[in-house]
């Protein structure tokens, strides 16, 4: 898959993982692994990027005597997910057109 596209997809995937409830690093990795190729180390730069873009916020919560970072989606984050969905509606239409056209020629 195109690397830029992959990066964009991973960003929204992570946002989607925290859309309904706050989550933490490892949990996000587990949630996403069935869908995308992501690991503990590839997640980190994404989280940092999303935080820098203010699409999510971070807070520390105590867990078993240590601090765990929880990530919460922001309004901008939700807007990003919505924008992604719209974009893909468009792509899906093009996809149907392209593949539809191909079967026409056969």
């Amino acid at each position: 898959m195109d690397i830029q596209m992959k990066r964009g997809l991973l960003d929204v995937c992570v946002l989607a993982a925290i859309r309904d409830e706050d989550s933490y690093g490892y949990q996000i990795v587990k949630d996403l692994q069935p869908f995308v190729d992501i690991s503990e180390s590839t997640l980190y730069p994404i989280l940092r990027r999303l935080e820098a873009a203010e699409l999510l916020t971070v807070r520390a919560v105590e867990h078993n005597g240590r601090l765990r970072k929880y990530y919460r989606i922001t309004e901008s984050g939700r807007a990003r997910i919505a924008a992604f969905a719209d974009e893909w509606k468009e792509i899906m239409a093009i996809y149907r057109f392209v593949t539809g056209e191909a079967t026409k020629d056969e």
């Binding site: 503990e40 980190y44 940092r48 820098a52 601090l67």
Partner: protein, 207 residues
């Protein structure tokens, strides 16, 4: 590898990052290892899941750079520059300490080279001296009949003959002298170039 060793290693490798970032990164990976352990993995397995510390550090630094974080890449070049400067400082100390030795060696080397040049050009001068002698001899012996007028024909013929021989030799020897001079000059230039070689090569490397 255990957790502390891994994290310390990672910390060392991302030294160039600003404190905040380093702290955040280490916290993240500490937490990740802890979570993996909680999941049921052993400390070894948890650390292994993150891969090589070097590879991880490389990725961390690269993303920090892409995001335009102040990875203090100035300090990246600083250590190198410092290394360069440090080497120069060390070299300078060595130079000063060893100066009695290398200065006298250098002077002797220069003296030898200089004497070689002197010898070379003395040879050239000698060749020209011969030329001059032949030329003068030719002139004198050819002109002397006019000056001396000794009257003895045999003597006059001898002088004429001798003079002509000298003149001929002088003409031939002129070409030898010319050839010798040009050869010596070319040799000198070549010699100087060879001496300057180490300096010119260094300049090319610096470029």
């Amino acid at each position: 590898m255990n957790k502390t060793v891994f994290l310390d290693r990672l910390d060392g490798l991302i030294r160039t990052l600003p404190y905040e970032e380093r702290r955040a990164t280490l916290d993240y990976y500490t937490e990740m290892i802890e979570d993996l352990i909680e999941e049921g993995k052993t400390e070894e397995e948890a650390v292994a899941a993150l891969g090589e510390a070097e590879a991880l550090a490389e990725q961390i630094l690269k993303t920090a750079e892409i995001q335009g974080t102040e990875t203090e890449t100035d300090t990246d070049s600083k250590p190198e520059q410092q290394k360069k400067n440090k080497m120069s400082a060390g070299t300078i100390v060595l130079l000063v300490a060893g100066s009695p030795l290398w200065i006298s060696l250098a002077v002797s080397a220069l003296a030898i080279i200089l004497s070689l040049y002197i010898v070379l050009w003395s040879l050239v001068i000698t060749v020209w001296a011969v030329e001059l002698a032949l030329g003068a001899g030719a002139l004198v012996t050819l002109l002397s009949p006019l000056l001396l007028i000794s009257g003895r024909a045999g003597e006059m013929l001898l002088l004429c003959g001798g003079g002509l021989v000298c003149a001929g030799l002088a003409i031939l020897w002129f070409y030898v002298s010319k050839w010798a001079s040009i050869g010596a000059w070319k040799l000198s230039v070549w010699g100087v170039r060879m001496l300057m070689k180490p300096w010119r090569r260094k300049e090319q490397n610096d470029e």
